[in-house]
């Protein structure tokens, strides 16, 4: 499907931002993952929109390493959160993404307002394992160790379905979905050993890791898996 120039530019900005997050998760330079407010050029102009799309994961390196975010990054994150609230008819994933940013803001800056009430999960009631996995992969920023919400509780109740969805995504070569599902699987109890999650994540990275959005989820999964074992 042909994409508009705006959509293409936004996607490129999101990919650039994701690359920075991946670098930071791999232990590289964490300075200025998010272009600070006032950055010249298109990168600066698009930064809030790109941060809104990447959502809470824009601050993931600091969240996982429990280090306070750079104030300039936090300012852009807050700007993205405030400038792009979900519209009244927004899809559940849009509302949950915004809620996840509110939760992250609160973690990063305790002086921020408390996260609003959680959106509901009614749209996932009775969802097939295929739909469930796709939606969870889109909401992968909610998959964080020690962070509870209605979506994570729902996922905890269906580990085998998510595992099936992970395998299906790999077979369909949908690397973004596979990486997001893999990240959830690192946190869920009761995942069958036969899934071979470590090897599966390696394969997803090998085949799809040139896409920063795939690499981000794989790196996040590895970091969380290492943390869970350590």
């Amino acid at each position: 499907m042909e994409q508009s120039g705006t959509s293409t530019r936004l996607q490129a900005a999101v990919q650039d931002l994701a690359s920075g997050v991946v670098s930071a998760l791999r232990g590289g330079d964490h300075a200025h993952v998010v272009p600070p407010v006032g950055t010249d050029g298109e990168a600066g102009d698009l930064a809030p929109a790109a941060v809104r799309v990447l959502g809470a994961d824009a601050l993931l390196p600091g969240l996982l390493s429990r280090t306070p975010p750079d104030p300039a990054e936090l300012a852009v994150f807050r700007k993205a959160f405030e400038a792009y609230p979900p519209r009244a008819d927004a899809a559940p994933t849009v509302r949950w993404s915004h809620w996840a940013m509110a939760r992250t803001l609160r973690r990063a800056d305790p002086s921020s307002a408390e996260a609003p009430d959680e959106p509901d999960t009614a749209w996932l009631d009775g969802a097939t394992w295929q739909v469930l996995t796709h939606q969870l992969a889109v909401l992968a920023p909610l998959a964080l160790p020690g962070e509870d919400c209605a979506v994570s509780r729902l996922a905890e109740g269906r580990p085998v379905d998510v595992a099936r969805g992970f395998v299906r995504a790999v077979r369909r070569r949908d690397w973004r979905q596979a990486a997001g599902a893999g990240r959830w699987l690192t946190l869920l109890p009761g995942v069958p050993e036969t899934v071979g999650l470590d090897a599966g994540l390696d394969f997803v990275e090998l085949m799809g890791g040139q896409d920063p959005l795939v690499a981000l989820q794989v790196q996040a999964a590895r970091r969380m898996r290492t943390g869970a074992r350590g």
Binding site: S4, G5, T6, S7, R9, L10, Q11, V14, E42, D45, L46, P48, A49, R52, V53, G55, E82, A83, Y84, P86, R87, A90, A91, T93, V94, S97, Q130, H134, V138, R171, R172, R173, D174, R176, Q177
Partner: protein
């Protein structure tokens, strides 16, 4: 829409709808390869030198 958002949108051309579309993607089409395609790819990647399988053994005469 807040005034600062209007300014941002004018600068970037990014609308809330663009962002919400990115946050609610439809599932990507699956890409499957059947065994014949895989065999073809294997031959291509091997520069035509790759022998996918040995010839079927034939019974010895006599």
């Amino acid at each position: 829409m807040r005034p600062d958002q209007i300014v941002t949108d004018e600068l970037t051309g990014i609308q809330a709808a663009d962002i919400e579309a990115a946050l609610d993607p439809v599932e990507a089409d699956g890409v499957y390869r059947d065994s014949r395609q895989c065999a073809g790819l294997a031959l291509l990647s091997g520069g035509g030198k790759l022998l996918l399988s040995p010839p079927t053994p034939r019974p010895k005469k006599g």
